[in-house]
Amino acid sequence: MPDKKQDFIDQKLQDLNNDGVDRRGFLKCMAWAGTGLVWTLSGGIPVSRAFAKGIDRAAGKGGDFSFVQISDSHMGFNKPANPDVVATLQAAVNKINGLPNQPEFLLHTGDISHLSRPEQFDSVDQILKSATAKDVFFVPGEHDVIDDNGKSYLERYGKNATGSGWYSFDHKGVHFIGLVNVLNLKAGGLGSLGGEQLEWMEKDVKHLKHSTPIVVFAHIPLWAAYPAWGWGTEDSAQALAYLKKFGSVTVLNGHIHQTMQKVEGKVTFHTAMSTAFPQPQPGKADSPGPMKVPAEQLRSVLGITDVNYVRGQHSLAVVDSTLA
């Protein structure tokens, strides 16, 4: 068992090394079935604690809080990789409801539906009603804006949004920015934010204090996770430049159906698992399509991401756990 874990760690290290990531600020973080490891960054230095009893904080104390990110529910998908995405999304909600520290809201980082159909969005809304956390914030994935350029997505989820669905909000001193990078995609290209959204973002963060923790969430990774498979955003560098002054930036993405993490200075990038089906690791298959695993293993490759903010620490603790 320890050998398997060590191999797994080495493989993750290898993957990160091949990525060309600077070793300084390097973060080794993974959750394996049945256990959770909490890594927090304190002044850029990773500090770990066993997760068994939950994060060291009294729920609701001061400005402390947590929220949960789910992603890629692909409601309507019914192929062998997962014939029942309703059940696995419900399992994710049940998992969230069972967390020792209850989240104050949920973030869904897109691909809510599989084909942008009204009944698919309805299904997800219905299942999320059973979450104890009543507030859910969304950003669209490319599967949510098919055929109508996001019109039906916006009607449903864009009430407090600008443009094609971007928006920001504050929660207990943390500034959250929801971005849309799945519209007007060019042939051969990656995700795209566009000039109008970037201009909005520049203004949105301009007057915030440098000490404000920032959380950015968008569907497609905002860094070059694996461009050959479209896992990146053409103009994300501009967005990140607007966030340079901040002491703590956490970027939460989906799209790739697996966890991947990168730390670059004060910015932590993190992608979530899907609640529907896994996808292969970069380059390990011909294409980034749904990856079939033995039925009994499916829930161990699907999951949620719990994010904890402890006031005064500026950094957020990001914990992935599977549905197994």
């Binding site: 192929k79 062998p80 990789a81 599989h114 084909l115 942008s116 490319e142 599967h143 098919i146 055929d147 995609l185 060019k186 042939a187 051969g188 290209g189 990656l190 050959a228 498979w229 479209g230 011909d286 294409s287 980034p288 399509g289 749904p290």
Partner: protein
Amino acid sequence: MTKLNVWIAKLATPAAIAILLLCAGTANVAATDQPAAVTAEVKIDNFSFGPQTITVPAGTTVTWTNRDDIPHTVVSTDGVFKSKVRDTDEKFSFTFDKAGTYPYYCTIHPKMTGKVVVQ
């Protein structure tokens, strides 16, 4: 010349001309008569169009069939054609009447690109 001969000549000449024209006309019609419609297939699988570049004569109807387990679209980069989302086993067809090069891509997965060359 007898009156009869003149009459025959007067009748025959336009008739002959008419027949010649008719033949010419018929030949033209024969030349533009369509044989069985020309079709071509592109398979969509593994996040790619196969063949990625297809060359066809003008008038060909190209049919894309999605064999992938993920939906895709077929959209011209120049606004010439645009499919609705195609899930597994669904098809999209377009008839290319004019010669030219028609690059296209999947708007859901823009790394997927293809080209139809019409001659």
